[in-house]
Subunit: 406 residues, 2 copies
């Protein structure tokens, strides 16, 4: 259709749409795509070899027989009860945490869950804190809401609570309240640390002291390869200040688009008021629930093995090729990502070119920093490619890094 | 978990969350639910007897074999290409309208589609126009965005374009621009008319003259029982001012949560910037596409027969029992609903009580009016119950109405 434009939509856009137009920054735009990558280490895509293909076909057939009509009409506002119960069961199974159905709100994946929580608290211009670095996808979600985003450094113990106190105090003295502190507690994305118990307690105390809410993202918690599991901030909290998000994306498949929020019961309907109507994915929720309620522990155990092997293969490839440099390759206790501090003097432009020629994809560190920085870092996802390709691609990238050192 | 609340989340809520707390108004809250209704004439739920249960199980199996890995990982930002193509095919098949994949943005059902469009244009306090009456679900969606909602009457030809001109002119003289005009063009929900060609042209001319956008909702267009089909506003528009929404909810099943926007290509990414990440329902989109691409015309033809019979049965029951009163029962040319003007002197409270005793559900007219009014009307959905129950329930309700006349 050819249009003679008489109405220029650009003159009618909302404030948030205008912010959105300037705040774009996706993985696609920050990686070279001249050649199709052969080693897709960019986004955190789950392992395709582990998807339960037959299991989901079977679950669809069983579900359709048992409750097909309910799956095909509008669903409950807070989500399919069976899935909300499954989330409660998951928390008890993996963490011994007891929550109830009314603490759980189902969403279209984790980013939608985070968006519901942010919408409930953040107006354009409000201050909100996140870790620096933090997950680039959530940074996009946050920015869409138009807050002032304040980054607080992360070190090996998790969020730097001294720096956090300074930021909160400065806001408080300026008569402003931080609305939310967004934190990724396990295998922090991208930089890897699991927050220590001391830091967890300090973070909770600061939220109480400065009267702010915590948004605890734990997309990868079950995929722990080693190291001690700590109680979640939600479990440790006794002041109703923690909202926690979770997802089936990493333990079943991202294509099901099912996530959730776990929150104090009286906050759940407030966040749900930002949900669009019709109930979240009644059909898909049932298929996922029918599969997972029979297979969750065994499927997660399988995935832990799969991803541990991939992490180790990718690290081996990097360590072999970067030996003798001052590069730092982290060793996360779980999750999907490695975080690499490039050797001194690495030419980032040259690295981008050499990596593209080797057809290895990565995400430059700068994508993860809310207020700039991170040039010295890159993130690699070992989740998607095979063990062999994780090793090969890591060696190719290690050599590209060497070639980019001046 | 018992919580010693130290952080009161209510003091931290966003403006829109506070609006949401006061603007709730769902069907559930406006119908009596003392006794479980036996005749569910409330919400527009699709006919459960027509769901293609086996067809969807089969489609799941075929899809999983052909492209299971893609179905289970993150999807394309604008939606599964196969589904976007299916929407193009649907428009051509039913309307002879040619659009391209890049005009289509997939959403989680129609209400999500509308929300994306509203988010792109409406800031809190901005004026936006809708029909009066209009769909209550969309009224909730609209109100969540916090605009000033201005209702314009609907008559038998659709939106009253004289009244619309007055509102637009008043806003213009006050130095304010209407951001969006929301309209339901076919079998208007709830009041039933299909907008005439004259009104369609007048509405488009007004949008151009007052430089505003039109949001054209057409959730039921294919389910036309009789009468002439007119080209959509989108098809008639030559100024890039129309965004159109559609859904699979009524022609496949609401539980799949798949809808879309059809819009000028350069506007699609702007609206998509309000989408959360991960792609909309990659798995579900594929299942629905695999089924619909083989069965769309035959399945829609079946549904047209099903719903026409239900409409006729419900009308018959009402007309038989309300004969001799001045009640008005409309005859929509398609869709899911009847709109009834109650007889003079009907006691609404008494009707609510008698209908609840007869276990017949309906929605009071007031739910559909953005600025008050509608007390004289009720809406009935004939979509969900069987032909027999549509007739029986309509007779019971007709008698309840008679009993409530003073």
């Amino acid at each position: 259709m050819t249009t003679t434009r008489a109405v220029d939509f650009r003159t009618l856009l909302s404030t948030r749409a205008q912010i959105g137009q300037t705040a774009r920054g996706t993985i696609a735009s920050t990686t070279r795509t001249v050649l199709t990558p052969l080693y897709e280490f960019g986004g955190g895509r789950p392992d395709p070899g582990s998807f339960p293909y037959d299991g989901l076909v079977d679950a669809t057939a069983r579900m359709m027989k048992e409750e097909g009509a309910d799956a095909l009409t509008y669903g409950d506002a807070l989500g399919y009860a069976g899935l909300r119960d499954l989330v409660c069961h998951k928390y008890e199974l993996f963490e011994g945490l007891k929550v109830e159905r009314d603490n759980i709100l189902i969403s279209n994946g984790s980013s939608h869950a985070l968006s519901l929580a942010i919408s409930a608290f953040v107006d354009t211009g409000d201050p909100m804190i996140c870790e620096s670095p933090t997950f680039s996808g959530t940074l996009s979600t946050i920015r869409r809401h138009g807050p002032e985003v304040i980054g607080v450094p992360v070190d090996r113990e998790g969020i730097d609570t001294n720096a956090l106190r300074e930021r909160l105090e400065a806001l408080w003295r300026a008569g402003r309240r931080c609305k939310l502190i967004y934190t990724i507690v396990n295998f922090q994305n991208p930089s890897g640390p699991t927050m220590t118990m001391r830091r967890r307690h300090e973070l909770l105390a600061l939220a109480r002291e400065y009267e702010t809410m915590i948004l605890e993202d734990d997309a990868y918690g079950e995929l722990r390869f080693e190291g001690e599991q700590h109680p979640s901030l939600y479990a440790l909290d006794d002041s109703g200040s923690v909202i926690r998000s979770g997802t089936l994306s990493k333990i079943l498949g991202a294509g099901v688009r099912l996530g959730w929020l776990c929150a104090p019961k009286d906050l759940v309907p407030v966040m749900n008021s930002f949900n669009f109507g019709g109930g979240v994915n009644p059909f898909m929720s049932r298929v996922a629930t029918y599969y997972m309620r029979d297979h969750m522990p065994s499927h997660v155990a399988l995935l832990v093995d799969v991803y541990r092997n991939k992490r180790d293969a990718m690290r081996r490839g990097l360590l072999e090729t970067l030996e003798g440099t001052d590069a730092d390759v982290n060793k996360p206790e779980g999750g999907f990502f490695l975080w690499i501090k490039l050797p001194t003097g690495t030419d980032r432009e040259k690295l981008a070119t050499l990596a593209a020629e080797a057809r290895v994809q990565y995400v430059p560190g700068g994508s993860f920093y809310p207020n700039g920085g991170g040039e010295r870092y890159i993130r690699l996802a070992y989740s998607y490619e095979s063990v062999e390709k994780c090793y090969e691609g890591a060696r190719l990238l290690g050599n590209a890094i060497r070639g980019a050192m001046s």
